[in-house]
Amino acid sequence: MNTAMSAIIRKDFRGVSANRRLFSSLLILPLLLVVVMPSIFIVMIHLMPDDPDTAKLLAIMPASARLSSMELTLSGMVVNYVLPAFFLMIPISTASIMAASAFVGEKERHTLETLLYCPLTLAQIFRAKVMASFLLSMLVSLISLAAMFAVVETEAVFLMGTLLVPSISWAVVILLVSPAISLIAITLIVRGSAKAQSVEESQQSAVFLIVPLILLIVGQFSGILLLNVWLLLGLGLACAAVAALLLKTAMGKFSYERLLQ
């Protein structure tokens, strides 16, 4: 990493914080996902009457997931099975918004050509841009994560008088799955960026990444999937492999002539 590349990364970061519309679109989804949604779940579980159907559902749960009260068990499930899937939307959306702005946004504002005239190879510019999007995506994800646990644990202490213990799955999500799918989102945006003429158009190329995630959420809710940590690890490794492959081939499609079309 040379100084020129870090200058590009710093500039892209500044571009986000200076653009109010971009900044708020980056913040809204995480806020909704990590503060509002978990709170609704926790409060709902707290207010829910003990009904036999939920008791039956709980009976098929692995013993390790069962806790002293039904309320705690259900809340634990939400925290360890449902919230990770919600959380993964954050790296996807942040990475997409940032990558679209970093690649297509520069093209739209006619600043890409100037950037290409810098003494950097296309590969270096490409890497700097991917890095900027990736770092921002990880930063926003980690901040969201901290906010989410702060909110959820506060509510748990307040409503149930105890902390909810996150499972080891969270480590896999944070360290492997989230970086991997954020890279996938970035490369998908970048691949589409040569053709796309506007930021909005380019963001759409990563929208379908959300679909498997929604399926995952539905699956977790209905108890079909209930991913254990090994499955999650496998999924994360698969995502990382896909990300690496996409990153390699996306670079190959990069050329001055394609970029300046």
Partner: protein, 316 residues
């Protein structure tokens, strides 16, 4: 070493449009080269080839000995590039923009800042340096682009239509700044424009291009000599008609006191005037009318069209 070498360069776009046909040129260090031609002549295509963002279909070129098609990043290190589509960031101030490009060109922060400040001063932008680019006028943007292109002290400055879209006063301004900077920093300038009048004010040598082919290249004197055998000397004088040697002077009367003489060399002027004065003439003014760049350009395009018509005639 020549600063810019172009050898049999051709470019055909994927659409099939042949934008450049077998162009050869060389530009020496410190020259201010005017690359002139109407819209669509192939000027921008040439600049894109010289800056490595297009690859040639045939032929080759080099900038300070570097092939921009092979090593664009090295070529960019010695080139400053101003084109219509190379804009800067609206959300940053003039100064912040320059600092970013200084860093992108690998300048240490302090050096970048000093260089940016001196360029802003030279380009008369010091008062606006802390304003966001969004509030800049077109002329100010163009001057900041010049500063941006010069931030890393390039050897060659490529300017593609730097004064198009500016009002005459700003255009004049930018033009003078290019002139001053080029001279002071000893930079080689490759200036593309269709505005011949501005070019004539600052360029030391010219290349005229039309439909992708070079029509001619040379200094103004060389081009004049090649295209115009004679120059016109305009004289306002009285009491010359009675001069016995008048026919020798080949003077033609235009109006009451206005005369014209066709001459080939400037050295003919003193003798001619002496003859008139010695014959009792009173001279009020003498002016030598030399063909302008525009005259040369039109003479060249006429000539080309003539020869094309002739060829068509022969074919028939």
């Amino acid at each position: 070493m020549e600063a810019v070498m172009i050898h049999s360069l051709s470019k055909t776009y994927p659409s099939g449009k042949q934008a450049l046909k077998d162009l050869s040129l060389s530009i020496g260090g410190g020259e201010v080269f005017g690359f002139l031609g109407p819209n669509g002549a192939g000027k921008t295509t040439t600049v894109k080839l010289l800056t490595g963002v297009l690859t040639p279909t045939a032929g080759s070129c080099s900038v300070m000995g570097i092939d921009p098609a092979r090593q664009p990043e090295k070529a960019h290190l010695v080139s400053g590039i101003v084109t219509e589509h190379a804009q800067m960031y609206d959300n940053l101030t003039g100064m912040e923009n320059l600092l970013f490009y200084a860093a992108a060109f690998g300048l240490p922060r302090q050096e970048g800042k000093a260089r940016a400040e001196s360029l802003l001063r030279e380009l008369d932008l010091t008062d606006a340096k802390d304003r966001r680019l969004a509030s800049y006028s077109t002329g100010m943007r163009q001057r900041l682009s010049l500063a941006r292109a010069l931030i890393h002290r390039p050897d060659v400055l490529f300017l593609d239509e730097p004064t198009s879209g500016l009002d005459p006063e700003s255009a004049q301004n930018v033009n003078q700044m290019i002139h001053g900077l080029a001279r002071r920093e000893g930079i080689t300038v490759f200036l593309c424009t269709h505005q011949l009048r501005y070019a004539q004010e600052i360029c030391t040598r010219y290349g005229l291009i039309e439909q992708g082919s070079l029509l001619a290249a040379g200094t103004l004197e060389e081009l004049r000599g090649r295209l115009f055998a004679a120059k016109t000397l305009r004289i306002r004088a009285a009491n010359v008609l009675g001069n016995p040697n008048l026919t020798e002077c080949k003077l033609k009367r235009r109006r009451d006191d206005e005369f014209e003489a066709e001459i080939r060399e400037n050295e003919e002027i003193p003798a001619l005037i002496r003859t008139l004065v010695e014959g009792g003439g009173d001279i009020y003014s003498v002016s030598l009318e030399e063909p302008s760049l525009e005259d040369i350009y039109f003479a060249l395009t006429d000539k080309r069209n003539d020869s094309r018509d002739n060829r068509k005639g022969e074919a028939r």
